[in-house]
Point group: C2
Chain length 328, copies 2
């Protein structure tokens, strides 16, 4: 069994030897830029781990792992335009460094190139299945992004809607990567399906943890400013659950905080403090952690159901825990 | 043999019974909107005609024809954002009717859904080949669009560069549609390749004709305002050829006309008249028509080389002539 660190190193070797063409540079330079900004490479590593449960020589899986990483980065490039985000991994986003049109067209060619790497699937008779999963997941990511956009302008977000949104926007790509790894590794459809469910539930748990840390973490370990979701009035699970449990008075406070425009940083800090104190009164951190654990447990149940020796699953178990603890 | 009109009708039946999902409507309503704006449906019809050279029951080819039409419309949606075009087929473009983010995300999901229709290829063992052609063509269209963008801001456009740009941006999608039709219809690789070359040369001839009519056509038959390319300082074949042949005085006039900003419509009409008179002095219409005919002849040579009875090719010959004469 390869360790996740080994797999990441193999993947980065592959990525470094498979740069995009040099011309036209206006189109491809931004692609190479974004693909080399770093990142955890979670999706390709998980795909390789799913594969490695069944086969040890990971070379044939590398182009497919790359396809998932390219797709993920494509979605970041276009999402960053839609969200008007200036930074990604601490560096300027493509539309910021170049312009919006460059972001659109370079993103488009990335999506197409992801499909070009999918073509290299071995064994070749898995192409239809691999393509089908990829298409379904890719379409789902767009749908999740649309829901996320919709939630910004509606007050009618149900908790179930939010969970479905993070499932589509974040979790199913992780799920699809694991499932695809298993399929090309020669795992049974049932094992591949369990790995999909493992990845999906882990992805949801991971996103819930992200929401929790955004409000209750500390900047040092979270790596981002604490309270960002509150400042941006994001309708996360924490906020939606708080609204559901709030007394009329608490509801008034939350509504007020989430609808009053802010002009100064000082006001932001006040807002974060007020909202956090309501969250605390309602035990939102504990409730959210509880839900996160339920998803994590569900993930583990599916991993257990995969018909390979337990010792082979150790790395996936560990990585999943590390992801929740942000040490990956 | 089905007539192009029959094939278009069958395609439209298929399109009408394969609308995009209703939810989330913010994502898919724009897709249904753009796909139902009409248009000549040239690419799907040519794909079906390529198929119909070898097989008569066109049903299995319809999803693949749809994939090409969806891709073409995806590229229009994103190009219209990049070009800030308010109208498409006389109706508001998606980013105009909704907003830019909607144009980006709806375009993305169209590209993915094009791949979902490709999956339905019959016989299934053609999937790898069909996918490979589609990927190559789709990537080429992005590269062509990038060159087109680059040409706007450079004075160093060679005629060969321009011809390569229209080949990539316009012609290869037509070429790929014909080639793909032949392949899934059971044509030989050689026949499919000749149909690709037929489509490519026809596509270039068609674009050259478009450039000629934009300057020398009449509004009634062209359907667009005459002189649009001149007003927008487009570096078409006509302009580039004129620059190449111009005397120093004519060159000065062209440079001046293509660099002086215009504020009034009256000035636009003057500019069109001045540039056209230089073009006429240099016989640009005749030279351009000559080049268009060379591409058209080359297209016909490739069509002749396809190993099916001549009578089967009649519709393709006629359609290709009609496309040049704008009666399709």
């Amino acid at each position: 069994m390869h360790t996740p660190e080994n797999l990441k190193a193999s993947f980065l070797d592959y990525l470094n030897t498979h740069s995009f063409p040099l011309a036209p540079k206006e189109l491809f330079e931004p692609v190479n830029y974004i693909l080399n900004l770093g990142g955890k490479r979670i999706r390709p590593v998980l795909l390789l781990m799913g594969y490695n449960l069944f086969k040890s020589d990971i070379q044939p899986a590398l182009p497919i792992a790359y396809a998932y990483e390219i797709f993920h980065n494509f979605s970041l490039v276009h999402d960053d335009i839609m969200d008007a985000s200036p930074l990604r991994r601490g560096k300027p986003t493509i539309h910021q460094k170049y312009d919006i049109n460059t972001g659109i067209l370079s993103g488009d060619v990335m999506l197409i190139c992801a499909y070009q790497y999918l073509q290299e699937v071995q064994p070749a008779d898995k192409l239809a299945q691999v393509l089908s999963i990829f298409n379904e997941v890719a379409k789902g990511v767009c749908i999740g992004q649309q829901w996320d956009i919709n939630f910004e302008t509606t007050n009618q977000v149900e908790i179930a809607d939010y969970l479905r949104m993070i499932e589509y926007k974040t979790a199913i790509l992780i799920a699809g990567a694991l499932q695809t790894g298993a399929i090309i590794g020669g795992g049974s459809d049932s094992d591949a399906q369990h790995l999909y469910e493992f990845g999906k539930n882990m992805g949801i748990a991971f996103q819930l943890q992200d929401d929790i840390l955004d409000t209750f973490g500390d900047t040092a370990s979270f790596g981002k400013r604490i309270g960002g979701d509150i400042v941006q009035n994001k309708k996360t699970f924490l906020y939606l659950k708080a609204l559901q449990l709030a007394t009329p008075d608490q509801k008034t406070i939350l509504h007020q905080q989430y609808t009053t425009p802010i002009t100064e940083t000082r006001e932001e800090e006040q807002k974060i403090a007020i909202v956090k104190s309501v969250f605390k009164e309602l035990s939102i951190e504990e409730i959210s952690s509880q839900l996160r654990n339920e998803y994590q447990d569900k993930a583990m149940t599916h991993l257990q159901a995969v018909q390979v020796k337990e010792e082979k699953k150790i790395h996936l178990k560990e990585l999943s825990e590390k992801m929740l603890n942000r040490i990956v």
